[in-house]
Subunit: 377 residues, 4 copies
Amino acid sequence: MDFKTSNAEGPVDFINLDDLEKMAQKVVPKGAFGYIASGAGDTFTLHENRRSFNHKLIIPHTLMDVEEPETKTTFAGEKLPAPIIMAPVAAHRLANEKGEAASAKGVADYGSIYTVSSYSSVDLPKVTDALHGAPEWFQFYFSKDNGINRHIIDRVKEQGMKAIVLTADAMVGGNRETDARNGFTFPVKLPIVAEYLPDSVGKSMDYVYKSAKQKLSPKDVEFIAEYSGLPVYVKGPQSKEDVDRALSAGASGIWVTNHGGRQLDGGPAAFDSLQEVAKAVDKRVPVIFDSGIRRGQHIFKAIASGADLVALGRPAIYGLATGGSAGVKQVFEKMESELKLVMQLAGTQTIEDIKHFELRDNPYDPSFDTSNDLKLF
Amino acid sequence: MDFKTSNAEGPVDFINLDDLEKMAQKVVPKGAFGYIASGAGDTFTLHENRRSFNHKLIIPHTLMDVEEPETKTTFAGEKLPAPIIMAPVAAHRLANEKGEAASAKGVADYGSIYTVSSYSSVDLPKVTDALHGAPEWFQFYFSKDNGINRHIIDRVKEQGMKAIVLTADAMVGGNRETDARNGFTFPVKLPIVAEYLPDSVGKSMDYVYKSAKQKLSPKDVEFIAEYSGLPVYVKGPQSKEDVDRALSAGASGIWVTNHGGRQLDGGPAAFDSLQEVAKAVDKRVPVIFDSGIRRGQHIFKAIASGADLVALGRPAIYGLATGGSAGVKQVFEKMESELKLVMQLAGTQTIEDIKHFELRDNPYDPSFDTSNDLKLF
Amino acid sequence: MDFKTSNAEGPVDFINLDDLEKMAQKVVPKGAFGYIASGAGDTFTLHENRRSFNHKLIIPHTLMDVEEPETKTTFAGEKLPAPIIMAPVAAHRLANEKGEAASAKGVADYGSIYTVSSYSSVDLPKVTDALHGAPEWFQFYFSKDNGINRHIIDRVKEQGMKAIVLTADAMVGGNRETDARNGFTFPVKLPIVAEYLPDSVGKSMDYVYKSAKQKLSPKDVEFIAEYSGLPVYVKGPQSKEDVDRALSAGASGIWVTNHGGRQLDGGPAAFDSLQEVAKAVDKRVPVIFDSGIRRGQHIFKAIASGADLVALGRPAIYGLATGGSAGVKQVFEKMESELKLVMQLAGTQTIEDIKHFELRDNPYDPSFDTSNDLKLF
Amino acid sequence: MDFKTSNAEGPVDFINLDDLEKMAQKVVPKGAFGYIASGAGDTFTLHENRRSFNHKLIIPHTLMDVEEPETKTTFAGEKLPAPIIMAPVAAHRLANEKGEAASAKGVADYGSIYTVSSYSSVDLPKVTDALHGAPEWFQFYFSKDNGINRHIIDRVKEQGMKAIVLTADAMVGGNRETDARNGFTFPVKLPIVAEYLPDSVGKSMDYVYKSAKQKLSPKDVEFIAEYSGLPVYVKGPQSKEDVDRALSAGASGIWVTNHGGRQLDGGPAAFDSLQEVAKAVDKRVPVIFDSGIRRGQHIFKAIASGADLVALGRPAIYGLATGGSAGVKQVFEKMESELKLVMQLAGTQTIEDIKHFELRDNPYDPSFDTSNDLKLF
């Protein structure tokens, strides 16, 4: 298949992540960009992800003796420049020819954790190489065949990965109508899952998802935990009930997400679910959050709501499209610097201070639209 | 009268029901399309019908051991592929020359229940023939003359129909200004009610409604139930008070609707009324719901809110306009497949699981507009 | 002054009152139309007047044995075709050369009560003549000189008027920026108040209001009631406190209004104040309501919220502009017929039924905009 | 640096402050205007500042015996024509060549208090001269070097200033993307802080802020109070916690603000914070309010919510740009006259009456957009 996309590498000039999204749209083919940027169904949930951050307000505190706030944090023994990591995203080669090799390098250069997707378009060893020692997690789309699953886990362990993220909210593809309108099919290979999906090129997302296991249950968490000996972070719980189910099955962390509004439309913003999940988890295990982060204030609010880490998906891919590894690194740096500014203005010196910062409920519906609508098809 | 409309028959290529509506608009004359698509007054209630589904949110549940969810259900002994039936809609020949003969075939091919309107533009025997054995219900616009009503019931029973739906919320026509602007009058005959309305061609909706009985009361429910021996479903209650009145009169089911926002403007979304009605009914009789269903998630939310069945009106007519019986069938299939996807993502295996699924109140007003505004005049 | 406006007389073809407003705009000079249609300040309150009706919802009741609902009502011994009367509006000759002579005839032909404004552009005897026996009320803009006030009351009594309406919410003109932008000054004479405002032509609204008394107090109510012996309806109270003050001073009725959003911007919709006022009045005296009525459902909701009568201001003037007395009559008839339709659909046979009808609070903010924005300058 | 801006002096013809803003935009260079008018980040908080005033409603009171309301007030012994003062704003020479010399003259001509910014583009003695005896306050951006701070305080005292305002919410510049888009750097000198920032010309806002002290604490309040012997008003507290911290440190007043939405985006409207602050202060010290005032009703609502004074920032600068000192004076007069009109319509005779006026909570979200969006880059 003759798929041409960006091969950019080098610094990018952008003001904010909304700008960067528009810049990425110009260098990534329409179908691929639509796949990356779009959401499910009426995109209600996609839009709620962004709007929801203003459901909580930061009352800035003054005279707090703060200077040069410290964004550094530690997670599972890893020292990070900020509580911002790379979310698993399929097929980076849609956005940049170098694919995961470049994004991994960018995240490693920044100094954070990289989560490699089962649907990576670059195979494991090359990703690990590009990380030059930075911590690597593996996001698992389960095969129906546990023999294959064991083999994948073996490979993951071989790379020295630190954790496995089990995606529990995407056993099938969401109703992504942009892909249907653009007639989008996968133009790239997905080598990690080649054993159960040998022929991804030219296939629809639906086909890809259907090749994986739909019938996920707590037993799968137990299986991965036991076979791998690695911490398993379950990605998907948005309620107390789901937290309990995941933790009972041996999850070592909960990843709150609605898959960037790409799976179920008509559900809540992920940020709105974060508060309930964090309360249910009650600090027993770490909480990771993604879906909608575009601003330093969003990171501040997520951490003040109980997240230990936030993960970037689409923004990092936009950095990859426009600047390769350098662009990815810039995206992380941008979020860190916005976060740092918010910390100073809010009167918080450390990430720990944010965790104790009390957000204010917004008694009003945020009607001012800060979403960034794009023409995708 | 020289009325030309679509005569399409065959598969239709559409992404979602909003698309289909726009496609239908292109093949149906303006006046007829305006009659079908428009609402009453300021169309506040019409728009609320769509917006209201996001008053309740689906928190997807994960690790639920779900695969290939089962949409099949049983209603009054009938096995249905999904809890989706055909709502009564007047004069299908506005949308397709073949009228109810084609829509009935489409619903029967899909395998569900067909509700024939008193204002059908095709006479009863032909509708029944087209259904080739599929279950048929009759929607009753009452005559002022009980002799005529008895005769209509006799004919209904002759066709072997399974139930009578008494429309209680439309004794007069709503204030449909689009029809006034388009100068719309009925271009087709309404053979079922020819005894009390012999001359529908060239008449306004107002005239048509005025020919039927306005002064509906519980006695009319009793009369139909007694004379027909069939279950009577009262279509219109939106409050506990109305449920009690209908059940006391012998109703065998409650059909929650606001007539697609075509009757009273300034009232609530039908979906907002569903919760109260379902609580008042308290499973004593079945609950059927229509008004605003355009998505699988809407069906999921209606069932989780207490509906046993949902009915499609306008969407089926849009399928009829664009693809005849095949288009109608596709509309039902589309809704079934969207529902199935939502079930998988929500973690529900069966329709019974949906009935026990707890929706979350949305504490925020859904400001993102998912309504599909059309230029109608 | 050379002021030319509409001189229309005869039936008007319109679908609803929003249409009529646009039609009126075409036949009335820009400055005059701007004066009539515009509101104060940012027009927040003007818009709230319209939006507020959807703060309350009508749940239609079914099987209510209703047919041909009866809109007739009685007020202070007067039999009216519907609880809809004419609000006081200044200077009808802005909208139609015949001015109050035509509007009075229109209201009388319809059969309702006419409230003549102190700022009438036609003198009292001619208005009374045009009413050919229909009930007439007098709206009082007080002079600073009680001698003049006595003289005006003498004249009012001479005409056989039935009540005096004391406008308490407009001792100064509101901040109507449209008038400033259009450079609008009064182009017509105001004969009734010629004693204290001999020279209205070429004067601004501000000048006009400043000529009247600002320092209104309960004593003025007492003075009018005592000197005239007529019932005094105080126009303006929007709170319990104000109701108590007016009733203690001898008011025979409360008129809830915010002057059509023309006086104080940043206050509530008049309809939102109606509930509190009605509760405070507690049926001790009648309640009259204006500000925002454009639909039959608005009248229904106002009456169900405690109003005994509603008054039409701008809509009647639009009828006057486009059709003279015939247009005015049509506006009243249109509102009556819309009200009747709502009554049938809501399941109410009489005005008394509406008074006992329980509206439902809308738990959601009505975001769908039904306001009719016009370009006024 | 060759910076050309308005040199207007003389009366301006404008209807309201939104008009004036658009007029100012035409005479001020793009970069400078963008700096003045823009907000931080997504400008959510900037927009909330305006929208929030309709979170509280004025129920106008009638028959209150009010005429010619009195806006005069006294603050700390100063007699003011209205409770409206000049907020500190940096670098007035961006808007008018005469800079603070003209704005100070305008405020003095009006008769109110002038707050001179540390980042004034005209040096202290000239500002004081222009004030010809009118009360002058000093807004302090602290140096990292207390020797410099003492020297600045010495100079402030030399000018006979009455109070020091410590800005506690802007130790760093907000994320003002408009400046970044316009490539805006300071084109003018800032003589007051030349000791610690000798070279402001050609520097970014970020650079300017970074030159001042970030690490503000209660000790700085104590230091200023003690060294200066003047009352210190802390500008920035938006919560009870911050009020307590400031008062414990010796603050003589609290200035509620969010810096016009220029610092932290994602926080509440300043007006929404005012209620909590006023309650926490509980009349122990005066409360001053800015951020979003564009209307007389906003001033009324701020005072009824607990403010003793309101301060104008951008509006005064727009007056300066369009009319020099005369324009500044007109802005204050306009606000006074709008306030007076609201007082009359609300039924309040004095500023004290406003302080006892009970605003009504708006139970609905104000959806009507009264904000004045400008194209800034």
